[in-house]
Structures are given as C-alpha cells and as structure tokens.
C-alpha cells in the first residue's frame, strides 16, 4: 500500500504517495521530474545518485523514499540560487571537471559535504573523500582542481 510522505525538497514543502519499494531516485524521477540524481551501479559505490538528506550525503538508489517523511532533501537541482550557480558548480565549469557529465551531479553534491568537513582540503583528503564517486571518463585530475578552487572561494566568503 502507498503511504503519503511530506518533506522538504530543495527548500519547498512537498508531499507525495510512495510505495514501500520506491527508492529516492525512482521517486525523484517519477514524481518530481528531477533526473539529476541517476542510478548507475545500483550498489551504492559509484555516487551518481548522491543527494543530501538532512544535510547528509546518501545514495539515492539504495535509500527508500518511504523514510523521507519529515526530512529535508536537497538535490543537484536545488543547489543554484536562481541564475547564480553554487561555487562548487562554478568551479567544476571553470576547471572543466567532467566529460559526459553523468556522474557530475553526484560529485558536486559530495564536494559540498567535503568542503564543509575539510574547508582547506589537501589533495589526499580530496582523493579519499571522493573515492565513492566514479567518473569513467576519468576527469579525476580536473575534479581535484575544481574542489580546491571551490574550497578557496567558499573560504573567502565565510
């Protein structure tokens, strides 16, 4: 049987009926037309489906929507402030930190958390923090640069 859940999605109060088996990715795609978080490995190790639930990064392909009642959910689509990109998004553009872009939303959502926890990350901290995100096009060197650029700007702003 479906259950009605009420939660905050990218700052907006929403509600929807979900089935017990529906993952967060399925729900975002089918109920809200949000496709930025995508399934790829289906095992929680590629990071393409990363979203924030109550400020924590989670794998949206393994997490059930059922438990989102009352939660605060942020996806890649909710990161920019209107036309103003988030500093992490801007840094990924300037450093060219992607090719096909399929993994990019997951990397950006994870980088947001990385910078919160490591405001001045070293290369090694970045490499290990982002080990749960796969980029088969292999823009890894550019991603390191993007994270450092974003961290430097967030640091200046705070």
């Amino acid at each position: 049987m479906p259950r009605k859940i009420r939660f905050k999605l990218n700052g907006r109060a929403v509600s929807t009926d979900v089935m017990p088996h529906e993952t967060i990715v399925d729900m975002l795609t089918q109920h809200f037309d949000l496709t930025g978080a995508r399934e790829s490995c289906g095992q929680g190790l590629c990071g393409c489906c990363t979203v924030h639930v109550d400020e924590k990064p989670v794998s949206g392909c393994l997490s059930l929507a059922w438990f989102l009642d009352g939660a605060n959910v942020r996806t890649i689509e909710g990161l920019a402030d209107g036309d103003n990109l988030d500093p992490v998004q801007q840094a990924f553009i300037e450093t060219g930190a992607f090719q096909c872009g399929f993994c990019t939303p997951g990397f950006i959502m994870m980088t947001k958390k990385l910078i919160e926890q490591h405001p001045k990350p070293t290369d090694d901290e970045i490499r290990h923090y982002l080990t749960g995100n796969l980029c088969r096009c292999s823009a890894y060197p550019e991603i390191i640069e993007a994270v450092k650029l974003a961290a430097s700007r967030v640091g200046l702003r705070n």
């Binding site: 089935m19 949000l34 990109l85 060219g96 290990h128 796969l134 292999s138 823009a139």
Partner: protein, 710 residues
C-alpha cells in the same frame, strides 16, 4: 592555409551538466510510459524449448511478455529474442509493465527450459576454433630477422574487459502515427535506424533515432544494441512508449566487450643497434559468428620506420557474446605488447629507451609504401623527457629506493592511432534574429564534440555563440556517422570549413558591394533577410560520392588511415613513475607526463581532458581491469562495479599533458588528426616498463597484479 592555434574556452555544455539538467536518453519524460525488463538465458549454449509466461502475466501491472515467437523470422542471427542461445545472459523474453517494479517481478516469474549443449568458455579450452585472417606484411622480415645481431621474443596477454560507462544501456521507443522514434545512448544513430528497420521489416523512412547526449560510450555504443529492436517491437505491439534500462549485470552479458588477446612479438636489431625486423602474431577471443577483425597490425608498423614487417592475426572462436571495439581497440593491446618488447630490446642492447626510440624516426608507412602525412613522435618524446626529468633516470633496475623500501621506477612508451575521417552532410542556417543552427553527424559522448564545432564555427564566422544550436546525434537532423575511432573532430572540421565557406559566399552575393556594419546576424537584419541556409557535403581524401550514399544508409562510410597519397596516424609518448610499496607490492602511479601529436588542437580544454582520461584508462587497464569468465557455467563472474574494479580519484596522481600542436595540412584543411584513442595507447606499456625499472621483474600481461611482483 592551416589554422593558427585555437584559444582555450569552456565547454559550451558545461552549465547544463553542473545543474544536472543534461537529459540522457533514459531521462526523456513521456506520457503513458511503460517499463520493461529483460529475461536473460540461464544456459551458456543450447535451444529454448519452452518459455512459460503465465506467472509473469499474473503479476499486477504486467502488460505483456514478448518472446522469440513474437518476432518476424529472419535469416541469420536476429538481434531479437532467439530460440538458439549462443551465450549466457542472452535475452529470452521482455516483460513490459506499468511500473519498473512490476516489470522486475514479472521478469523473475518467467520460466524457460532449455536443451543444453556442450560449450567452449575460454580461448584455451578444447573446441576453441582458430581462424586465421589475411596477414600483414612488408619487405622480408624473415631474412631481416635471420641477419639480426640481437633479437628478443616474448608473449604478452591483454584480458577481456568491459567499457562500463556510467550511463547504463537503455532504449526508449515510441510508436505514434506510423512512426517509430528511438531514444537511446548510441554512437551510431543512423546504423541503429537502418538495423532496427531490417529487424522489424520497417521502412527506414519511418524510423528516427535520437541520441543527443550520451553518458560515456568508449565503443560500447557503436553496434546495434541487443535490446533495441526488442523494445521497439514492444512499443509497436502495445501502442505505448516503452523504456528499458538494462541492469549492469545484463550489460556485462549483452554489450560488446574488449576480447582477450594474445601477442607474440619478435624484434631484431642489426649490429649498430638499429631495429630492422618485426614479427608479430596476434589472436583474440571471438564469438562463433562475431565480425570484429583481429586488426592488431594498425600501429606497430607505423611507429619506427622498420621496412621488414611480418604480422599474422587470428580469431579464436568460442561460445560468448560478440566482442567489439573498446577504446583504442587494437593499438592499446598491440602497443602494450610491442612497446614492452621495444623496452626489452633496448634493455638487451644497453640503450636508453628514449634515445633508442628517437633513433627510429618514421617517415614512411611500410605497409602501403606511402609517406606518413606527418609524424612528430620524436617531438613528443623529447618534450616528454624534458618535462619528466628523464635525464636523471639511472639505467639500472631497482636503483631508486625510498628510505621506507618503496621501489621507484621510471618507464616510457609510445603510441600511435590511425587518423580516420568520415564523409559528412551538414546544414548551416544563420538567422537575422541572432540564432545559428548547425546540423551534422556526431554524437556527444563526453569528448566535447559540440565544443569543437563551436570553436570551429566561431573561427570561421562571426556568429553569436550564445544562440548557437548544434543538432547532432539525431537522424532527423543529418545522416549520422558512427562517432568512433577518433574521427569526430576531423570530420566536423571538414564540414564546418566547407559550410562556412559556402555561407561567406552566399553572404557576399547577398550584400554585393555594400559595406554593412555588425556581425553576420546584423548584416542579415540590415538587408531584411530572415535567414540564410547552406547545405554541404564533404569527403575524406580519395573518397567518392558512394561514401555519401553509405553514410545516408547508416553503413560504414569512413576512410583511413591509408589514403591514396599518404598514411595518417596520431602519436603520443607517455612517461610514467611507479612506486611499488615494500610490504604489499601494490603499484601506484603518482606521476605521468604525456605529450601528443594529434595535429592541430581544436579545443585545448577538451583535448587535454581526453588525454588525462586516456591515461587513467591505461592505469585501470594495466593494474586493475579484467572481466573473468566462469568456465563451469559460461558468462562473466565479476559482472558489477564492485568486482570489476575501475580507477577512482585515490588511484590517480599528477598527469601532465602537452601537445606538439603542429597542423597536418596534407590530411585536412584544419590540420587535425584525432586524439581520444591515441591518448590511451602505449601508457599501459609505460607502466609495465616502469615496473621493470623499479623491480627488475618483467610482467607481460595485463593487469599487473600484486602476486606478479612477489
């Protein structure tokens, strides 16, 4: 006149990508969409005797189950469910349902029975059928080898591998008003269109294929995908749009893969230490009816100007799915073997491996006898050695040891890749309101072909880049070539150059002697012309109009690397530092320098990204990636991303990329040659050569594993 260097610019598709707004094939929203799931064969070889679908039909939400009996009978192996099972995981049925969950539950409820047959799982299993193809020869390698003062001979192995782009294979089909529209990630929209039409007995004119954004491909999405006509028929029979996204394990079993290959290389040098003879025998894993040629003799003859070359190649046919092209399909495994062998020969001669290669500048293709259109490999080697600090390298193995016992080694290797080109048919429309639309062949798989087109257009014409629409990957926009073999930039370069010239001529005719201020859009507005449109077609060197017919038909239309007057290759040199940990023997690659000769670099940003990506692919290939067959049951053992280990950020160190950036005006007007494939070629050998330098152990197979260094 060849183009001057191009400026560094951001990718034109960057903003959508960071917003998560890029729509890949499975993201297209469609009203009334049904979800599908495939039922894989659970036998490696045999015949389907029965398929019980009743259990699936009882699952709430299941709409229909398709089996082999729903499809038109066709001669030859159909790209549809078949009763003859050639490999484990082959589609037996397709379950279509109102929800994905119901489709999955329904697929699990389908029961098939099989009459099993004996099968051959490995290329060294009894029953593997060896099938020689035409040899590749130049001069008299046998005589040259007999007269050589120094020879080496060794065998090398490259494993089966899977591409694993992050975007999973998917097909979404819509049948409406007698027209079939297919959305899927493909590198070959026109080929898909032609082959779906054949499989389903449709007129190609009623089929359109759209692949505007592809989430990585690397060769996996070149051929017709197994699921495409199945999903298309489901949409036709049911009359609603149907979407299938293959689970990753099913992709491992149904997509093409890089076949395992074996390489026996013998090299001979004269008394002066000059490489004079090459003998190279290659074979590879092949399915019973597969067609991927064992084309391993592309690059080795074109590296070092050796006149005497003797190459053989063979299929080894077993019971598996069809192998296919995976990034640098021939040169990557071939150059792993060949460049390892060159390192072995240089070592035996007591020569520095960079100096040895520099002494062998190639100017001629011994296979065709024609000159190489350009070869700046020595520039790559010289610049790479300078940046890397190669002159500080001790010649002895095991001479660089850190205080904690870490062994450090430095290795070098080179790569070559054919410079190919496709004919194109393109349409350019420039409007007075500021818009520009360019429709041409090409698929955006991440390499940045739209950015390349924008770079070229902005150089040729004063168009507004903010309002530029680049229509590619769409059979409704222009006939689509297979975007592969590094031919994208070269092909669109010709199309843009021709279209811009025709547009300038049309503008000149329109404006006459008047002098009108502003860009091309303003000029059109001033003369009250809403738009100008030109259509052009281009051919590769030596091609005739038949190539355009093949392009329109979705058939193989490209040319290269042998052209009537010359042969064209891109080149690269890789310099690698490895560190072998003392207690675990784990190999790390902290530092790489790669210098490429791809002719004129059209988009510096995406070009550098291609090379870094290619180097990372080689690190994965050299140290991690192998898909393993279960010989008891057939099929792949490590069919997911937990067990098929690809590189992550923590595996990658510094990768310094440079370009010779000298145009090849003989090959085309822009002077570019192609890059995405050559980027990877030779880098795995450079890693193996560095491991030898660190440890004194020569590993002649990929991946190099910890146990190989104990």
């Amino acid at each position: 006149m060849p183009a001057a260097p191009f400026p560094e610019r951001e990718r034109i598709d960057a903003r959508d990508k960071v917003l998560g707004a890029t729509a890949y094939a499975a993201d297209i929203p469609l009203p009334g969409l049904l979800y599908a799931m495939m039922v894989p064969a659970t036998t490696p070889k045999g015949r389907v005797e029965t398929v019980a679908v009743e259990g699936a039909m009882q699952v709430r939400g299941v709409v229909r189950v398709l089996t082999a009996f729903d499809f038109p009978a066709l001669p030859g192996p159909p790209p549809t469910p078949a009763t003859e099972i050639a490999y484990r995981g082959q589609p037996v049925a397709l379950v279509v349902a109102e929800t994905l969950e119901a489709a999955i539950e329904g697929a699990e409820a389908v029961r098939a029975t099989y009459a099993g047959q004996a099968f051959v799982p490995l290329i060294d299993s009894p029953g593997a059928a060896r099938e020689l193809v035409q040899p590749k020869k130049a001069g008299n390698a046998q005589a040259a080898m007999a007269g050589a003062a120094t020879t080496i001979e060794a065998s090398y192995v490259s494993p089966a591998q899977h591409h694993n782009p992050m975007e999973m294979l998917s097909t979404t089909a819509v049948w409406r008003d007698g027209k079939l529209t297919i959305y899927e990630g493909t590198q070959s929209a026109s080929l898909v269109r032609a082959n779906v039409a054949i499989a389903l007995h449709l007129d190609p004119a009623v089929v359109e294929v759209k692949s505007a954004q592809v989430g990585g491909a690397f060769g996996q999405k070149i051929p017709l995908q197994r699921q495409t006509p199945i999903v298309a028929l489901a949409a036709i029979l049911i009359g609603r749009p149907v979407k299938l996204v293959l689970p990753r394990a099913q992709i491992f079993h149904n997509a093409v893969f890089r076949p395992k290959s074996r390489h026996q290389v013998a090299l001979g040098a004269d008394a002066g230490g000059k490489l004079t003879a090459i003998r190279y025998d290659a074979d590879h894993q092949q399915s019973r009816k597969g067609t991927l040629e064992p084309g391993y003799h592309e690059s080795p003859p074109r590296m070092y100007g050796v006149a005497d070359y003797d190459g053989t190649a063979a299929h080894v046919r077993i019971d598996t799915q069809d192998p296919g092209a995976m990034r640098a399909p021939y040169p990557h495994p071939a150059q792993f073997a060949f460049e390892s062998a060159v390192d072995e020969l240089a070592h035996k001669l007591g020569r520095d491996p960079v100096a040895f290669r520099l002494a062998h500048q190639a100017t001629t293709d011994p296979i065709s006898g024609n000159p190489l259109s350009s070869c700046f490999l020595n520039d790559c080697l010289t610049e790479g050695a300078r940046r890397f600090g190669w002159e500080r390298r001790p010649i002895a193995q095991g001479a660089m040891v850190e205080p904690d016992g870490t062994l450090v080694g430095w290795g070098v290797a080179a790569g070559g890749y054919p410079a190919n080109v496709s004919p194109t048919i393109a349409t350019l429309r420039v409007s007075a309101d500021g818009r520009t639309r360019f429709a041409v062949a090409g698929h955006e798989m991440g390499q940045g072909i739209r950015t390349v087109i924008a770079q070229l257009l902005q150089r040729e014409l004063d168009v507004d880049p903010a309002r530029l629409e680049i229509a590619i990957g769409d059979t409704a926009a222009a006939p689509q070539h297979t975007t592969a073999s590094s031919r994208g930039t070269v092909s669109v370069g010709a199309a843009v150059t021709a279209a811009a010239a025709k547009m300038r001529a049309a503008m000149a005719e329109l404006i006459g002697q008047r002098s009108i201020a502003g860009n091309i859009h303003r000029q059109l507005a001033t003369v009250r012309r809403p738009f100008l449109q030109v259509e052009v077609s281009t051919l590769g060197p030596g091609q005739d109009a038949g190539a355009l017919d093949r392009l329109r038909a979705g058939a193989r239309a490209a040319a290269g690397p042998e052209y009537p007057q010359f042969t064209s290759f891109s080149y690269i040199a890789h310099f690698v530092e490895v560190r072998v940990e003392p207690s675990t023997r784990r190999v790390r690659v902290p530092r790489v320098v790669s210098i490429a000769d791809c002719g004129r670099v059209v988009s510096p940003r995406t070009a550098a990204s291609q090379v870094r990506g290619g180097v990372v692919w080689a690190i994965g290939a050299a140290l991690r990636e192998e898909t393993e067959v279960d010989p008891r049951f057939g099929g792949w053992l490590n069919a997911d991303l937990a067990d098929y280990v690809v590189p992550v950020n923590a595996d990658i160190g510094d990768i310094d990329v440079g370009f010779v950036d000298r145009p090849d005006p003989l090959f085309n007007a822009v002077g570019s040659k192609g890059l995405g494939e050559v980027a990877m070629v030779g880098a795995a050998a450079a890693i193996a050569n560095a491991v030898f330098h660190a440890t004194g152990t020569r590993v002649r197979k990929m991946p190099l594993r910890i146990e190989d260094l104990l």
